[in-house]
């Protein structure tokens, strides 16, 4: 049964409500969530900033306040914590750098220190990248290390071939990627591996058709996407799956109109924000990835800014940073079809 956006019965994208929702997040001191998410506040700000940028309201958040706050999260080791006074972690270093780039303030940090922090997380023997000084390994960190270094034009500072080998070893028989060699394929890990290979200019090692087929298989009857076989659909996979298909040049292999209907159905029509699926409570993470998913899916009801599928930031920002060059590094055979 085919279903179009018109007959899903949802309202369109509630732009103003979502902007107000994101703006209000910083003021909810009476809610436990505010305090319990302290350790990832930097990422929370990043998700909110991406959401309002894609909604065309980049001035909705206080730029100077954000930049000052981010700079305060940097530690002596050069990395950034999830909040002032928290240990450095590569996840939050990524969000911090992305925010500084979005707000055109990257020149305010000592690039050598950040680069040194990231370079120090690579295991020279295996090419693997750790998330922090305790050595947790994950393909997420492989992508993030390359992405952070690319912002500083310093990708050559780490052993890129080693990172690529590690990513290649994490490729599975279904064409997908897991969190490391042997790990089950998972759409979010697929995204990180593809994005890493895109920056490294090594997408040629991917089994393009098998992987695209596996990703297209993630769409369920509701129109929503799941992250693995036999799992529930979730709005955040609108990003992980569709960004992967975008890198692979295959977004048309899923039904984007039905996906838009699913995402819009997960909006909180009163308080704003988007939830993981219809009927659940909205949060900033799903708000960000829902809107980014709508942008990739070509939602026609509102002029969303175009999002870069590798960096999860507006294309205009990535162009300004001179980082759209990953598109030129796609394998030649992908450029035709």
């Amino acid at each position: 049964m085919s279903q179009t956006l018109e007959d899903t019965g949802h309202e369109g994208l509630l732009v103003d409500r979502h902007v107000e929702y994101v703006k209000s997040l910083d003021k909810k001191h009476d809610e436990i969530e505010y305090w319990m998410t302290e350790h990832l506040r930097v990422s929370g700000v990043y998700w909110g900033a991406v959401a309002v940028h894609l909604l065309g309201r980049s001035d909705a958040l206080d730029r100077d306040g954000i930049v000052d706050y981010i700079l305060g999260c940097q530690n002596d080791d050069g990395g950034f914590g999830g909040h002032v006074g928290h240990d450095s972690h590569i996840l939050y270093t990524m969000s911090a750098v992305q925010l500084l780039v979005m707000y055109d303030a990257l020149d305010k940090v000592d690039s050598g220190k950040v680069v040194g922090y990231v370079v120090g997380l690579q295991d020279k023997a295996t090419g693997e990248i750790s998330g922090d000084s305790w050595g947790e390994k994950d393909t997420r960190f492989a992508f993030i290390s390359l992405a952070i270094l690319s912002f500083f034009d310093a990708v050559g500072e780490i052993d890129v071939a080693g990172v690529v080998r590690y990513v290649e070893r994490s490729m599975n028989y279904d064409g997908g990627f897991g969190s490391g060699p042997g790990g089950e394929s998972h759409a979010a890990q697929v995204f990180t591996c593809l994005a890493a290979l895109a920056i490294a200019g090594r997408l040629d090692i991917v089994d393009r058709e098998r992987l695209s087929g596996w990703l297209a298989e993630r769409q369920l009857r509701s129109g929503g996407l799941n992250g693995r076989p036999q799992k529930l659909e979730d709005v955040c996979y609108s990003w992980w799956v569709l960004s992967s298909l975008k890198i692979l040049g295959r977004t048309h292999w899923i039904d984007c109109s039905r996906l838009c209907g699913f995402i819009l159905g997960a909006q909180d029509t009163d308080g704003g924000g988007i939830a993981d699926r219809p009927g659940d409570v909205a949060d900033v993470y799903h708000t960000c990835f829902g809107i980014a998913g709508l942008s990739l899916a070509g939602y026609g009801g509102y002029p969303l800014a175009e999002v870069d599928p590798v960096y999860c930031m507006p294309v205009s920002v990535i162009e300004r940073a001179g980082l759209r060059k990953w598109v030129d590094k796609l394998p030649e055979s992908w450029k035709q079809a």
């Binding site: 001191h29 009476d30 809610e31 436990i32 969530e33 305090w35 319990m36 998410t37 302290e38 350790h39 990832l40 706050y69 305060g72 914590g81 999830g82 909040h83 002032v84 006074g85 928290h86 240990d87 972690h89 996840l91 922090d132 000084s133 305790w134 050595g135 947790e136 997420r140 070893r169 599975n172 028989y173 279904d174 064409g175 897991g178 969190s179 490391g180 060699p181 042997g182 790990g183 089950e184 998972h186 979010a188 058709e209 098998r210 087929g213 596996w214 297209a216 298989e217 769409q219 693995r228 076989p229 036999q230 799992k231 295959r250 048309h252 292999w253 899923i254 039904d255 949060d283 993470y285």
Partner: protein, 349 residues
């Protein structure tokens, strides 16, 4: 990236405020440094904020003590995603020379409430290899290693988690870490078979089957013998019989053979699945699942590569026909994908 708020974790919050506890009278709490003066009308929030204020002070002073250790546990149990608390706790365990087995028991105890938390699993993995250095059991047989209390407990812990949530991504990945670190491959296939028997649709278990079969060797290193390939084909086809419209065994067997024994797709797998499609007990269900037709596309496409001339175009015609059926009848949602596969086949012929 996981959701961070755990509403169940309310234990340890019923004590009097820390500011009224004698034990903490020498510590001046450090409030969250973001220039705000929050008003927190909810008591639960008050307690959490106070706890973290004291914890901040403890870390700022670099305090190495049992009370700091105990406090780190309370902070973690209230909010397991507080990764800085985990880092500090690990440092305390090492500096205070605490018993790692006891720590693992504590993690087991709180794990019920934080089972999808990255830090919890990473903490376990990091401590496990401190408790039992893989080098210390290298000389032992696999059977002996599995009997080591540290390894036995760890496998037991993971099994319990998987029993409750059979697709827990962290648990499977942790199980791989244990199996790989201590080289206990022989027992793993039996575990996997139990899991697939429990739920034939559990893709995590199918993935683990590949992990166990290949002993996690890279695609280049692992050699699939004919005997093993036959065994795996038989196994997958048996499981397909139980639920033909189940992506996992199809994806497993096609993926395994494409990677390690492409010639066996046509020689051995095709007769088996055609037998199934002709068997009146299964014919209807098998011919109605897109996975059957999709397998035919893969098999014929691979087969065509080994042929030339008319033989080749005949085989390609089968694959193209299967693509048409998928696009129009069995998998219309992905019609564009099948049209693309068809075009690629036509371009090759």
């Amino acid at each position: 990236m996981a959701r961070v708020v755990d509403e169940e974790s309310d234990e340890g919050l019923l004590l009097p405020p820390m500011s009224e506890q004698e034990e903490w009278s020498d510590v001046v709490p450090i409030p969250q440094d973001d220039g705000r003066h929050p008003v927190c009308p909810i008591a639960y929030t008050d307690e959490y904020v106070e706890m973290t204020d004291y914890f901040r002070a403890v870390m700022a002073a670099g305090e190495v003590s049992h009370r700091a250790f105990e406090l780190s546990g309370r902070v973690i149990d209230a909010n397991a995603a507080h990764y800085t608390a985990w880092v500090y706790r690990k440092k305390l365990i090492i500096d205070l020379g605490l018993d790692i087995s006891e720590e693992l028991s504590w993690v087991t105890e709180i794990s019920r409430r934080h089972i999808k938390n990255y830090q919890l699993w990473h903490h376990r993995g990091a401590l496990l290899v401190l408790l039992l250095d893989p080098k210390d059991v290298e000389h032992e047989s696999q059977d002996q290693r599995v009997q080591d209390p540290a390894i036995r407990n760890e496998l037991q812990f993971v099994s319990t988690v998987i029993e409750k949530d059979s697709k827990n991504f962290h648990a499977w990945s942790h199980r791989q870490l244990v199996v790989r670190s201590y080289g206990i491959w022989d027992q793993e296939m039996a575990f996997v078979e139990n899991q697939i028997n429990e739920d034939v649709r559990n893709n995590s278990a199918w993935n683990q089957r590949y992990f166990a079969l290949t002993a996690n060797q890279s695609a280049d290193e692992f050699v699939l013998s004919e005997e093993l390939a036959d065994r795996e084909i038989g196994y997958a086809v048996d499981k397909i019989k139980l639920a033909p419209n189940n992506e996992s065994p199809w994806s497993y067997i096609i993926g395994l053979l494409v990677r390690h024994a492409p010639a066996m797709l046509h020689e051995r797998l095709l007769p088996k699945i055609n037998e199934l499609a002709a068997d009146t007990d299964y014919a209807l269900a098998v011919s109605n699942t897109p996975f059957y037709w999709s397998a035919l596309v893969d098999i014929y496409e691979e087969r065509a590569k080994a042929l030339e001339g008319k033989e080749r175009s005949d085989v390609e015609a089968f694959a193209i026909e299967a693509c048409d059926l998928l696009a129009k009848r069995y998998d219309p949602v992905r019609a564009k994908y099948w049209e693309y596969r068809k075009q690629a086949l036509q371009a090759a012929s």
